[in-house]
Each structure stands twice: as structure tokens, then as C-alpha cells.
């Protein structure tokens, strides 16, 4: 009976199928950590990140025959994950986040104008901020900006790699990253102010 059940569950694998799985294991599986980390920062939730990585790898496996051997597998996986993320999360939230960047820019300029020296830019002031607070600030960024910050500052990709992942010119990556860090700074400045880390000038 056991043999019968095993036969029922297991379809015979051809050498090609075994090779296919071995190739996938070699090319795609080593990037799981990087993709999980990205999924976690994009969704801000470990359950969602697990679902996202599972969907991404199932799709990647299903379409692995379309992957051009010798090209950047990590970039290919990131593209699949990004599309899966957009399909799943845009569907749930209906619309991507919208932030009025002019408001952020005005706030940024106000911070600059209200501080006559650069004491508020000292790293020590922000040293008491926790990982969760910084991760929360990143998760709250609009999607396009969040993506570049995660890829550049957490995953350590170059502008060219990021441009390839998200299919935009390198100049757009640079400009988004510049804006994203300004947005993050305004958030961190607010956190630091709320916690009393900033000493107000008289």
C-alpha cells in the first residue's frame, strides 16, 4: 500500500526535469535572503513578506525556462517580485500611495531655515532611534521612493542595477533616491524632535 501511495503522489521525474530543478536551485535559491529582506521592507509585515516570496519563487520556477542563462538572475527575480507586489498590493489598496512631494520639500526647507547651524545633522542625535522606527519610516515612503532606498541603502545595489530592476533611467534612480532620503530625513527629524533628542535653538 505504501508503494501504491508513493506512486500516486510521485510522478516520475525525467532527467531533464531533475536538471531543470537543479539549475533553478543553483541560480535562484541563493538570492532568497535578499528577496525576503526586500519583501519585508516593502510590505512591512513578515506574513505578507512570506507570501510575497512564495509567490515570486513559484512564478520564477514556472517561467524559469524563459530566463536567459548567463544574465542577471537576481535582477530577473526582483522584477518578478516587484510585479507580484504591484499586482497583489495595488489590488488590495486600490491605488499606490500618493504623497505631495511639495509639502515634504517645504517642510525640508523649513527645517533648514530654522536651524542656523548644522548641529541637527549630527549623527549622534539620531543614534537613539531604533531599527523599528527607521524601518517604519522607510515603509511609510511612497512605493517608488521606498523601492530605491531599499535597493540602494539596504541591499547595496548600484544605480545601474536598480535602473535595470525597476526599468527606469539611471537619472531617475538618482533623483528618486535623493528625494527619498530627504523625505526620510524629515521623518527622522520629527521622530527625534518628538523624543526630545533635538535641542531647540533660542
Amino acid at each position: 500500500m505504501l508503494n501504491f501511495l508513493i506512486a500516486l503522489l510521485a510522478e516520475p521525474q525525467t532527467p531533464e526535469q531533475k536538471q531543470f530543478y537543479a539549475d533553478f536551485e543553483r541560480e535562484a535559491v541563493p538570492h532568497m535572503d535578499a528577496l525576503y529582506n526586500y519583501a519585508l521592507k516593502m510590505t512591512g509585515d513578515s506574513d505578507d513578506a512570506s507570501d510575497l516570496i512564495q509567490e515570486t519563487y513559484l512564478k520564477a520556477f514556472r517561467f524559469f525556462d524563459k530566463f536567459e542563462k548567463g544574465t542577471n538572475c537576481k535582477a530577473w527575480l526582483f522584477r518578478i517580485m516587484k510585479n507580484t507586489y504591484i499586482n497583489t498590493y495595488r489590488k488590495n489598496t486600490k491605488e499606490p500611495d500618493k504623497v505631495d512631494y511639495d509639502d515634504v520639500e517645504n517642510f525640508y526647507e523649513n527645517i533648514k531655515a530654522s536651524n542656523t547651524d548644522s548641529a541637527h545633522l549630527e549623527k549622534d542625535i539620531y543614534d537613539n532611534l531604533l531599527d523599528d522606527e527607521l524601518s517604519g519610516a522607510i515603509t511609510s515612503l511612497p512605493e517608488d521612493f521606498r523601492t530605491v532606498v531599499i535597493l540602494a541603502d539596504i541591499e547595496g545595489f548600484t544605480y545601474e542595477e536598480i535602473a535595470d530592476f525597476i526599468d527606469v533611467p539611471v537619472g531617475t534612480v538618482r533623483s528618486r533616491l535623493h528625494r527619498a532620503r530627504k523625505m526620510l530625513f524629515t521623518k527622522l527629524y520629527e521622530y527625534a524632535g518628538d523624543k526630545g533628542y533635538l535641542v531647540k535653538e533660542d
Binding site: 510521485a10 531599527d131 530625513f185
Partner: protein
């Protein structure tokens, strides 16, 4: 010289290759208070992220779950067979339990199609890049005379050749239909990718528009999409039909391609002809 502020981000990231631009930027940062402020902010945020945001590896449990789903079944069964072996070696339950499990499995298989009722996938298809939406819009353009065939032909092989020679990079199917006459075809282009469309008509002047895309495009290209649940539904061999804005709309899968068919003919008529394309 006017220097873009976003170059401060590139400087922090060591992404400026042009040495002379780099020198100019560094010297400008020394003299321009605004630019220096920007540079310090970029540097501060990058440093804080690097130092404070922890890199989280995938939990072993999640990794195993993902791998289990893609591993060839032989490997999966090998790792779980010890459990079954122990279970069935107990004489008191071995035979009866085995029979029950097999019966339960058969019942699940038999009833599976009744459990998964099709839902109204049309409600979820949103956005200009959605294949379902694009097919509907294209059909409307055909009816309004805004979209005319680039090739007029009733010969399926000529239409197929037209697709291939016009840069469509996936294999296409142009079936001959008993009730429908092939009229012609269009190749559209979106951000460098070419897509195949063709049109049929019948003797009563009803039109069928067929848009086909290789499924991998829907998964890996941003320019065209379908929701995952509709894709899974089609992947399972189902044909989805609906009346949408008074047009009969059908989605199916054959070979590697996903087909969207829109028509002003009845849903029954197009289902009979287009649910199974070969």
C-alpha cells in the same frame, strides 16, 4: 556652473564616474551652503540606514515551505516517506486507514471542480496595462473604426507570418473557424514589445477580436498584466466568459499563450468556438 542637487546623492553613493564633475561638485559643496546641507542630509540618512536597519535573512521555515512547493515530487516524497512508513507499519490501522485515505483523496479529486466556482474576475481587472481592459478598449476602437487591420487576409498562415515578421517575439495561433471568417491582423507596440491581434467576422456582420500574449509576458513584463487569480484559473485549464459592457468577453489559455476574445456576438457563440483554441 549650475549643479543639480541630486548629484549629492550620487556623490554619497560613489556613483559619479566623471572625475572632473566630481571635483566640481566637491568644491561647490565647500562654498554653497545649500548644496552642503543637501550633501550632509544624504550622507546622514544613508549612514543611519546602514547602521540601524538590520538585514533579515529568510526564516528557515519560510524557505523550506517555498522549496517544498517547487521541489520535484520524488524528492518531497523521499523526505516524507518515513512518516508514512511508520504509520502504515502499525497493523491495527494500516489497511483500513490506507483505504480511507485513498477514498478521501479520490473524493477530493472528483469534487474539486464543483468546489472551485468561477468568480467574477472582470471586477478585478483594472488599469490601462491590464490585458482584459486592453482587449475591451481595442474592440471598442475596432467598432468605432479607429483601429483598422494593418494586414487584410483570410489566410491564417499569412497572418502568422505577418506577426512573426512584424517583431512579435512569441509563437502565435491563428485558428481557422467554421463559423468565422478571418479578416486581418494588427501588431501593436508598447515600449518596444510587439503584440499580436487579429479579427474575424461572420455573415451577420458580427465581429470577433482576438488578442494573444505569451503568458510569461504577463508575469515578467510591467507593460501588460492580468490578476493572479484569473491567471491561475486559466492555468488550470478553465475558460472564463463574461458579458462585459454588453460585449461577450472570453479568456482562455492554449499552449503558452493567454487569449482575450471580445465580440458583439452572443456569449454562447464565442464560447463554442474560442474556449478551446488549437
Amino acid at each position: 556652473m549650475d549643479i543639480r542637487k541630486d548629484l549629492t546623492a550620487a556623490l554619497v553613493d560613489n556613483e559619479i564616474i566623471d572625475e572632473s564633475l566630481k571635483k566640481q561638485l566637491v568644491s561647490k559643496i565647500e562654498t554653497d551652503v545649500d548644496l552642503r546641507y543637501d550633501y550632509m542630509v544624504q550622507n546622514l540618512v544613508k549612514t543611519l540606514i546602514k547602521e540601524k536597519v538590520s538585514y533579515q535573512s529568510i526564516p528557515e521555515k519560510v524557505k523550506s515551505k517555498v522549496l517544498r512547493k517547487i521541489q520535484p515530487k520524488e524528492i518531497r516524497v523521499k523526505s516524507s516517506s518515513s512518516f508514512f512508513a511508520g504509520f502504515f507499519s502499525r497493523p491495527a490501522i494500516s489497511f483500513a486507514t490506507a483505504i480511507l485515505i485513498v477514498l478521501a483523496a479520490l473524493l477530493i479529486l472528483i469534487n474539486r471542480s464543483e468546489v472551485t466556482q468561477p468568480k467574477d474576475f472582470a471586477l478585478e481587472q483594472l488599469g490601462e496595462d491590464n490585458m482584459f481592459v486592453q482587449a475591451k478598449n481595442n474592440f471598442r476602437s475596432i467598432l468605432e473604426g479607429k483601429l483598422a487591420p494593418q494586414l487584410v487576409s483570410s489566410d491564417p498562415s499569412e497572418v502568422k507570418n505577418f506577426f512573426a515578421s512584424s517583431g512579435v517575439n512569441y509563437s502565435t495561433v491563428v485558428p481557422e473557424m467554421r463559423k468565422w471568417d478571418l479578416l486581418g491582423a494588427v501588431v501593436s507596440e508598447d515600449r518596444g514589445e510587439k503584440f499580436a491581434h487579429h479579427v474575424y467576422a461572420n455573415s451577420e456582420g458580427e465581429i470577433v477580436y482576438l488578442f494573444q500574449v505569451e503568458e510569461s509576458y504577463l508575469q515578467t513584463h510591467e507593460i501588460i498584466k492580468l490578476t493572479d487569480d484569473l491567471l491561475s484559473y486559466l492555468d488550470n485549464g478553465n475558460c472564463y466568459t463574461t458579458l462585459n459592457d454588453d460585449y461577450s468577453t472570453l479568456m482562455s489559455k492554449s499552449g503558452n499563450n493567454i487569449y482575450a476574445v471580445v465580440s458583439n456576438a452572443s456569449l454562447d457563440d464565442i464560447s463554442q468556438s474560442f474556449c478551446a483554441l488549437n
